[in-house]
Amino acid sequence: MKILEIIFSTSFGYAILRVTTPILFAALGAVISDKAGVINIALEGIMLMAALWGVIISAFTHSAWWGLVAAIVSGVLMSFILAYFSLNLKTDVILAGIALNLFSSGGTIFILYLVAHDKGISSSLKSEVLPQMTLPLVNKIPVIGPIFSGHNILTYIALLAVILVYVLLYRTPLGLRIRAVGENPDAADSVGIGVNKIRYIALLLSGILASFGGAYLSMGYVSWFSTNMTAGRGFIALAAEAMGKGTPLGTFFASLLFGFAGALANNLQSLRIPSEFIQMIPYIVTIIGLVIYSSSQVSRIKKVKEQ
């Protein structure tokens, strides 16, 4: 069977990690903001904006690193706007997130047009890509080597981020405060923790993570920016976070699942199935995953009660 052949090849394993990277970044962002009790719907828009600024600044400075810095700065700014409106002006955070996404999808075209005189793609800009890394020793191991070595540096940062986010949330004072603020803001308030301050920090961290994901898309996954290139990854990340029960490790595995679905979609293009159906796969998997997760939540509560 051709499908099995594809799935069990090392290049498919490699592709899973490649496709997982941006989702994982955004999903970890979702973990942090969710733990603080604010849903960050704007991940999608933040990624998109970051992808654009990465390309623009890397093209102007001829440095992928400055591009990355610019991407992060744009992510911080976007999350700052989200935080300001949802925390200071008390805009419903979902609506504020939707507004930011709309702003991003139009705003990136606006900026792209001003800079590259094109409303679709950044091909007239000579942008840079972030380096790929060959892991010494690891690359020599059969099977493991081809899967894990030779990725973009951001892929490794994403994997590292899983651990960092875990340590942050469960081992540091900031993490304890984030969790307290998310679970009972009044309790945090009553001991003098500034609830808004903690939520600001959580949203900014979440935005930074998402902008890594955006930078990866335009300076790693591909080497250009195109309009709406995030294609719902920010939303898929939200689903991944939900499926991962809000824990960093669970979210990592859920993201891998979506990475798998995405890699499958990319690889099945060669089969004789209408391409439209193949492109649906990641979204269908997301819905199925979400349903399985949510129903397991419902039945978990039921089951305990039946004992």
């Binding site: 304890l176 679970e183 308030d189 305990v304």
Partner: protein, 516 residues
């Protein structure tokens, strides 16, 4: 005596236009236990929230040790040595006692939290103030009295010299209250100043040095506690002589209306919160349910009303099983329910009074004209209920959120009482509302009883339960531990021993509540 705190001319207007504090002056001396009393809605909590930086006043100034301070967040209040134990506990349920206590001032080791140190700190502090807690226990699993100790420790760890306790005894049994008072006296000896909010005048007499009385948002008097009687205080609190006695006739119980059989409920963490509960309520009878909150009352009520599904046991209304009926079907059979938390269950605050009043019957033919709603009928119906239940409002189109607590509760009561229920479940029907509204609601409950409604009354207010109930059961740990058919023969202290689980009646004595 040195004045440690002075609040001057404090005025607070909430966004809904309610003026909760009107140029209040409040002063506390160092090292005293100062009681702040007033009936529900008088503005005590608001005044203390302002002191603790949770609310900002429109006018007024606060002086600590003679120095003017501006307290715009709890952080500043804490820095100024003020600590507050809130009416509703402010704890993070999933964290441990130690984590809750060090939250915000976590001990660190190389940037990470030092969990061991946190436990040490907690244990040391508990030792010092003789407040026994288990530092490693998860807060979610603690009983109420224990949570309160955690709250007090939290404040003390942050260096509170002035400790505010907002109705600390409302959730405690008489015995736990005694324990708390001993702890408070020890704190006083150690030099702490305590502001103690209550409307239980006996407690105020027992524990406080001075008392400030509030009524309708104003300070109406400050006294040395030893120089006033309970009657003096209560007169000032409500502005007239209170009739604490509720006038009612001897009850004439009829047929069994509600029968609960062997009800068992396991919560999401696998703990049984109702164990084999059986009882019945007869028509024309008010059956009181006494017990410390969290001993299964909420689960019981939610199961009877249909808000919660259950699988072990039976519910019978007029002899017919109603286990699997929907809320709507139960309501149609004549079950009415005054919920414990009116803002969460009782009303849609953003909707109008009229819309709230018709909520349980908007589908009935009389309120509809073909496919459209019958506006005229809804208007006349609303006007009638507003009058009948003396709901103070500008019109039936006013949003419920603009009303005061007592009037919001009247909206709930008007709706639930006017459907002519067979069974009324009244869960804390007068919690947090003023005396006027309380009296009205008590009167209406008795009226319903006299017309043959079976009433199940759940209340944390022992006074209310003793006065209103005809018969009484006590719940502890998810079980019925006592049944009394003659309330004149029990004292509050005796009830307390049952509520704490120190005593339990025999199986036969409890079985009497089935009237079978």
């Amino acid at each position: 005596m040195k004045e440690i705190l002075k609040m001057q001319n404090i005025t607070k207007v909430y966004p809904n236009g309610i003026v909760a504090n009107k140029r209040v002056n409040f002063s506390v001396n160092e090292g005293e236990i100062h009681a702040l009393v007033g009936e529900n809605g008088a503005g005590k909590t608001t005044l203390m929230k302002i002191l603790f930086g949770l609310e900002q006043p429109e006018e007024g100034a606060i002086y600590l040790n003679g120095k003017k301070v501006s307290i715009n967040s709890p952080f500043i209040a804490i820095k100024n040595g003020i600590g507050m134990v809130h009416q509703h506990f402010m704890l993070v349920p999933s964290l441990t006692v130690a984590e809750n206590i060090v939250l915000g001032i976590e001990p660190r080791k190389r940037g990470f939290i030092d969990f061991k140190k946190a436990v040490e700190i907690t244990e040391e502090l508990a030792q010092k103030y003789n407040l026994k807690v288990d530092a490693k226990a998860v807060v979610r699993d603690l009983p109420v009295g224990m949570k309160q100790k955690v709250e007090i420790l939290k404040a003390l760890l942050r260096g509170a010299k002035i400790l505010i306790l907002d109705e600390p005894t409302a959730v405690l049994t008489p015995q736990e209250t005694e324990e708390l008072f001993e702890e408070l006296l020890r704190l006083k000896e150690k030099g702490h100043t305590i502001i103690f909010i209550s409307h239980k005048l006996r407690e105020v007499k027992q524990i406080s040095d001075r008392v400030t009385i509030m009524r309708h948002g104003k300070n109406v008097g400050v006294f040395k506690t030893s120089e006033v009687t309970e009657q003096d205080i209560s007169k000032l609190m409500v502005g007239r002589d209170v009739v604490l006695k509720i006038e009612k006739t001897q009850h004439k119980p009829g047929e069994v209306v509600l029968e609960v059989k062997n009800l068992t409920w396991i919560n999401e963490w696998g703990k049984p919160t109702l164990k084999n509960v059986s009882f019945s309520v007869r028509s024309g009878e008010i059956l009181g349910v006494a017990g410390v909150e969290g001993n299964g009352q909420r689960e019981l009520v939610e199961i009877i009303t249909g808000l919660r599904k259950f699988d072990k046991g039976d519910l019978l209304l007029d002899g017919k099983i109603i286990n699997n009926l929907s809320i709507k079907e139960r309501r149609e059979l004549g079950i009415s329910y005054i919920p414990e938390d009116r803002m969460v269950y009782g009303v849609a605050a953003e909707a109008s009074i009229a819309e709230n009043l018709i909520a349980d019957r908007f589908e009935k033919r009389e309120f509809n004209h073909g496919i459209l709603t019958n506006i005229r009928k809804i208007a006349s119906f609303s006007k009638y209920l507003i009058e009948e239940f003396k709901i103070q409002c500008s019109s039936f189109n006013q949003k419920v959120k603009m009303l005061s607590g007592g009037n919001i509760q009247k909206v709930v009561v008007a709706r639930e009482f006017s459907s002519g229920p067979k069974l009324l479940i009244a869960d804390q029907p007068t919690r947090g509302i003023d005396v006027g509204a309380t009296e009205l609601i008590h009167k209406k409950i008795i009226e319903l009883r006299d017309r043959g409604t079976a009433v199940l009354l759940i209340s944390a207010d022992l006074n209310e339960i003793m006065e209103l109930s005809d018969t009484l059961i006590v719940m502890f740990g998810g079980e019925i531990v006592a049944y009394f058919d003659d309330l004149s023969k029990v004292t509050e202290e005796e009830l307390g021993t049952y509520m704490l689980g120190l005593k339990k009646q025999s199986y036969e004595e409890i079985r009497r509540v089935l009237y079978a």
